[in-house]
Symmetry: C2
Subunit: 162 residues, 2 copies
């Protein structure tokens, strides 16, 4: 039996591997997508039908909603993700604003700049959609990371929990 | 000719008037909805067909997008507005988060607590939609206003402009 490959700092068994970014697919349910999200926030496991129902809700939005994932081809696991949705406004001549949400990189794969690559990919999606800006909310500790990605601190986020 | 009514502090010609909140309608284009938004941000005027096209984009989202307005019945003008959209997630068992955007009260009508009424209305919409939280971004000066509406400061907003 082959030993489990060692994934560390973006290398697999010491070799750099190509980790491509692509859109979420239904088959990613079996590749640990939901487990990865649970590293970010409360995220109980979902049945295949629950996953497919929510996938369909989001797919109905077309290019106005996009979830990016990075799959580790050796492990067959999703190791990074981030989502973006396009909000259509009346402001600025019926312009659009992109909102980035739910960005997480698997603990074992951190240090490989996957977070930055996911953000760049989502920013490109927003640009292609004709948005005039991309916004996101983060904890103060992540400010420096997002500044490296080209963002600047702009406002404060207020929240009301039910 | 009747003189223009004096709208001040929620009263019209010194009389308290009932200003109800309702959903945006196509006819609100002729009632200064876009001009009101221009008090918030850059908002050039829109032709009837541009307005109707964007109205249709948003109506297609059903209850997942809602624009609240307050019309002054005496003036036949929109004097306050705020919008909300529901973001569907995989997190927290396929939960939803509501985002409040583009809240503005006409300068001449400020002081009548229309801002707070608009926010309460949108929060009720989020609750009815089963969201687990409502979030919004604002300038630091508006923090106190949103705290009065039941919100708490949570994170920082980062932005990237194209």
């Amino acid at each position: 039996m082959e030993p489990e490959p060692l994934v560390e700092n973006g290398k697999i068994n010491g070799q750099k591997t190509e980790l491509n970014i692509r859109q979420l697919e239904i088959s990613d349910h079996a590749k640990g997508f939901v487990e990865l999200l649970s590293q970010l926030s409360t995220c109980p496991s979902l049945s295949q039908s629950e996953f497919e129902a929510r996938f369909a809700d989001l797919a109905a939005l077309g290019d106005d909603h996009h979830i990016a994932v990075v799959e580790d081809p050796t492990l067959g696991r999703i190791v990074a993700t981030g989502s973006i949705f396009i909000e259509k406004k009346f402001l600025r001549g019926c312009s659009s604003v992109a909102h980035i949400e739910d960005v997480v990189v698997d603990k074992a794969t951190r240090g490989a700049h996957l977070g930055q690559r996911i953000i760049n990919y989502l920013v490109d999606h927003a640009k292609a959609a004709g948005c005039y800006k991309v916004i996101l909310d983060c904890t103060p500790e992540l400010r420096v990371f997002y500044e490296k990605c080209g963002f600047e601190e702009k406002n404060v986020q207020m929240a009301l929990y039910f």
